[in-house]
């Protein structure tokens, strides 16, 4: 617009008001955009920092899990060893039990033989014959 031209105030005022309203509107839009950009900036910074933190934690977590794995392997090895020992011990106990059962059986057989012997006629005769001697022995004691 040529500034030298005469300007009527009646015709300019609405133009200026309109222009002002438009500028205000544009300003509001710009402010809204700035806010959106600031929100996006916050989010992307958080994402970057979070990702970096996770990345720096990852080796530690990996190391932790690896240590746990190694420890578990060691515990498994120990458990297997214990298991083997336990199985061997059980086998030894079973063998001992079998031996005991055998001895028990032999004992029972011997006991039966003794019972049979004691109930025989020759044993009774022998005891009757030895009775005076046993009495004398008691008296002497």
């Amino acid at each position: 617009m040529d500034s030298n031209l005469p300007v009527s105030p009646e015709t300019t005022q609405p133009d200026v008001a309109l222009e002002l309203a438009q500028v205000k509107h544009e300003l509001e839009l710009a402010e809204g955009k700035i806010m959106q950009l600031e929100l996006a900036l916050l989010q992307s910074r958080d994402f970057a920092i979070g990702a970096a933190a996770e990345a720096s934690e990852a080796p530690l977590i990996r190391a932790k899990y690896h240590a746990m794995y190694v420890e578990s392997e060691r515990q498994l090895g120990d458990a297997n060893e214990h298991n083997k020992s336990h199985l061997a011990h059980i086998a030894r106990l079973e063998q001992a039990l079998a031996d005991l059962l055998k001895i028990d059986k032999a004992n029972k057989e011997l006991r039966t033989q003794i019972e049979n012997l004691k109930s025989s006629a020759s044993w009774r005769v022998g005891r009757a014959l030895m009775l005076p001697i046993r009495i004398i022995k008691r008296i002497v004691k």
Binding site: L42, Q43, S44, D46, F47, I49, G50, A53, L60
Partner: protein, 517 residues
Amino acid sequence: MRPQFSIITPVFNPPHGAFEQCIKSVYAQTNKNWQWCLVDDKSTDEYVATRLKQLQVLDKRIVVYFRSENGGIIEASNDALSLATGEFVVLLDNDDELHTDALADVAARIELDPKIDYIYTDEDKITVDGEHYDEFKKPKWSPERLLAHNYCSHLSVIRRELVNAVGRFRRGFEGSQDYDLILRVVEKTSRIAHIPKVLYHWRSVPGSVSIAANEKPYALISATKAVTEHLQRKNIDAEVEEVKPYALSRVKRRLKQSPRISIIIPTCGTKKSLFGVDTCLVVNAVESIERKTSYKNYEIIVVADAHTPPEILSELQRVSPLNLRIVNYEKEFNFSDKCNLGVVTSDAPFFMLLNDDTEVISEDWLEVMLSYLQEPDVAAVGPMLLLEDGRIQSAGHSHTPYPHNFYNGRSIDELGELGILKVARECAGVTGACMMVRRNAYFEVGGLSKSFPLSFNDVDLSFKFLDRGYRIIWTPFVRLFHFETASRPNFSTQKEVELVTNRWGNRIYSDEYCRIE
């Protein structure tokens, strides 16, 4: 290279048994690279002179000086410093004991970082009968806490060059001469380390500060003077007040400016019975701000969900006609996103994240919290939050043994371990329910993470601040009610737990600022 230590011990009529234990503890050191500088301050007990002469003859590493007149602990300590030739000085009182590994552990720490200037360790107390008690699990380097009391104290190991550079012990600080020395040392160096292990046993004998700090009132006066001068040297405009009846100090920084503060309150207009009255939480919070706040330059930004009843919004406008702005939030609930929206709506250099289920108690809450943020490396400040019945809701965060609100449910009258509830201090985080934040720092770390819509967003934010070298301060000198979880359920999703663990690993289960379980 292994550093040589000069143990500095002023001696004045120590109890015989305690002194013998002290000698025994020095000889028992696993690290043998030490020199022991003993200065007798004209003891009247003949046993002292005899024993010291004997020690000097028996061991070349022991240097003894007999003062011709009694000059007090400061003069004697300075004389002992004059005898020292080691790279580091180790401060040991004549009736205390060193842990067997004290020098070895300190040497190992120096080996990790040979440029280190000052090391302090945990300590405990020991009775005359040798019984240990009162273990002090100290925080990592906490300059704000050091203004409240000499938490570093024993064992302190300082580079000798630095001790000489700052002018050694000073007269006029009797009873707090070591505190004054430490304050001057930490002004000159940032290479400070903490060893989280008890390496010093402080003998509790009647009349000793180890039994009760009030035993020596002149020590408190000296401590206040030491802190005041420290602040002056650092050009911090503040006054130092005694926290009665405890032997603690409060530093009240004066505000240089009164910048604008935005108080950001996310809400959905929840109502709840408070103190027996049916109350709209956000209206109550805003009303308490308007009624109580003495600071003038603030605005309130309420970020309201789309379904917030319009009559509540009208009520808010009525309660705060001049300072309030309402921002509509039209997305699915996400606490972090709502706060971030409030933040970008404001351009204030500092803002307060405030839950709507809070109520202001302290009139100067904004001034006090802002005063800490005048220190450029402080990113956030949190207050003492109280439950409706007056018990503590949060005294900052602690991550030992897992993230939680420190002292939750305990009485406000408690002192806490070594006054932890009565002093402003560095901490691993403060709750997002009430947190004053520096805008620049908030933007630097990406604000509250949208990945944590419900829980751990404040824990995550705090870690992001700490990771960038910022400090977070908790203060007991500001109080608000926090009617916890009144406005939303208190739970975290499995996804949030996994994410916070993936991001920060074991750090969320161990807190170097607060090791009290």
